[in-house]
């Protein structure tokens, strides 16, 4: 345990010494600029996932095939998600120690891991039979359940992300 803590400590020190990390800490505009990119990316990730979730739940776009919506939107979601991860990591690296010890940050990471697992379950189990409920038929319970979980998790992820700003000083 002591070894792990020591190596984490070294990694965080190293991250915080990066030029981008120094710029995020010391410049007046670099932090808000990267934060703006992060917020726009996250809103697009959440909004686009919501379109797919609401379709599977049968609350929107019922006249469109599930496979068509998922196939045309989710590649964009992944692209924008990469932007969110890179911008988010730049903010994290600037104050790795502080974020790592922050409850809201930890909760956000745990919720993201849960969203990832939920997505795996959705794609590996109910989505395999999507041809049977692609259009006109309601999705099976497990598919709807996974999408309801997805909506809930992403709402909580946004909330925890916003709360980080209120629980970290300076």
């Amino acid at each position: 345990m002591g070894d792990l803590q020591l190596s984490l400590e070294r990694i965080f020190h190293w991250l915080e010494s990066w030029p981008i990390s120094v710029a995020v800490r010391e410049s007046a505009w670099v932090f808000p600029a990267i934060e703006s990119v992060h917020v726009i990316a996250i809103t697009l990730v959440v909004g686009s996932i919501l379109i797919v979730d609401l379709r599977v739940l049968g609350w929107a776009s019922r006249d469109e095939r599930v496979t068509h919506i998922a196939g045309s939107i989710l590649p964009w979601t992944w692209g924008v998600f990469c932007v969110a991860v890179i911008s988010g990591f730049s903010l994290f690296a600037a104050k790795a120690h502080t974020y790592f010890a922050n409850f809201n940050f930890e909760a956000k990471m745990v919720l993201m891991a849960m969203a990832f697992l939920n997505m795996l379950v959705f794609h590996l189990i109910p989505y395999r039979s999507v041809r049977c409920w692609d259009i006109e038929r309601p999705a099976p319970f497990l598919a709807k359940f996974a999408c309801a979980v997805s909506v809930t998790l992403w709402v909580l992820i946004v909330a925890m992300g916003r709360w980080i700003g209120f629980s970290i000083e300076g």
Binding site: A28, W29, F31, P32, E35, S36, V39, I40, I42, T43, L44, V46, G47, S48, L50, I51, A60, S61, E64, H68, S72, I73, W76, V155, V158, A159, R162, W163, G165, F166, G170
Partner: protein
């Protein structure tokens, strides 16, 4: 005058209430961000369709008809949550140059969206053929400018937190 109004507003009971209950501001900001997720994603879907990057087999009017209601209802949610945030922190918003810029950009974006909505409703056939016609390049430029316009509103919104000297980075 704006400063006097902000001062007066911050002394009213609703403003006092929001100031005293510490979780209201982050909670309302979270709902505000979720509404931004809906609005920006709806805008992105329409612009991607105009670019021909998504759902090329779906008529423009149908894509617009699917996402414009989300855009308008999302904007209403933004207005309501925005008013709550202004009531709670009038000095942070009303006299803030980032906030004023945001409102100016928002007026332009709403005007553009309203004009698009009217046009697509009255001349849906013309919009459907638009991606193949001579007007395609003009439409693509307009779509890109509109998307960037909505992004800039989000950036200006995030910058409200940094354009006020007395409030730090939340």
């Amino acid at each position: 005058m704006l400063q006097n109004f902000a001062q007066w507003l911050s002394d009213t009971p609703p403003s006092r209430f929001i100031q005293d209950v510490l979780w209201i501001i982050p909670a309302v900001q979270t709902i505000h961000i979720l509404a931004i997720a809906i609005v920006l994603s709806a805008v992105a879907m329409i612009e991607l369709r105009l670019f021909g990057l998504i759902g090329r087999n779906t008529p423009v009017a149908q894509t617009a008809g699917r996402f414009l209601p989300w855009l308008w209802w999302g904007t209403l949610a933004l207005a309501i949550t925005g008013l709550i945030l202004i009531t709670g922190e009038p000095g942070r918003a009303l006299t803030n140059p980032a906030f004023q810029l945001k409102m100016a950009l928002l007026l332009v974006a709403l005007g553009v969206t309203f004009a698009f909505h009217r046009s697509v409703r009255r001349r849906s056939a013309r919009w459907s053929g638009a991606s193949q016609s001579m007007g395609a390049i003009v439409i693509r430029i307009a779509a890109l400018v509109t998307l960037l316009l909505w992004f800039s509103i989000a950036v200006a919104g995030r910058w409200i937190a940094y354009a006020v000297v007395s409030y730090g980075g939340t």
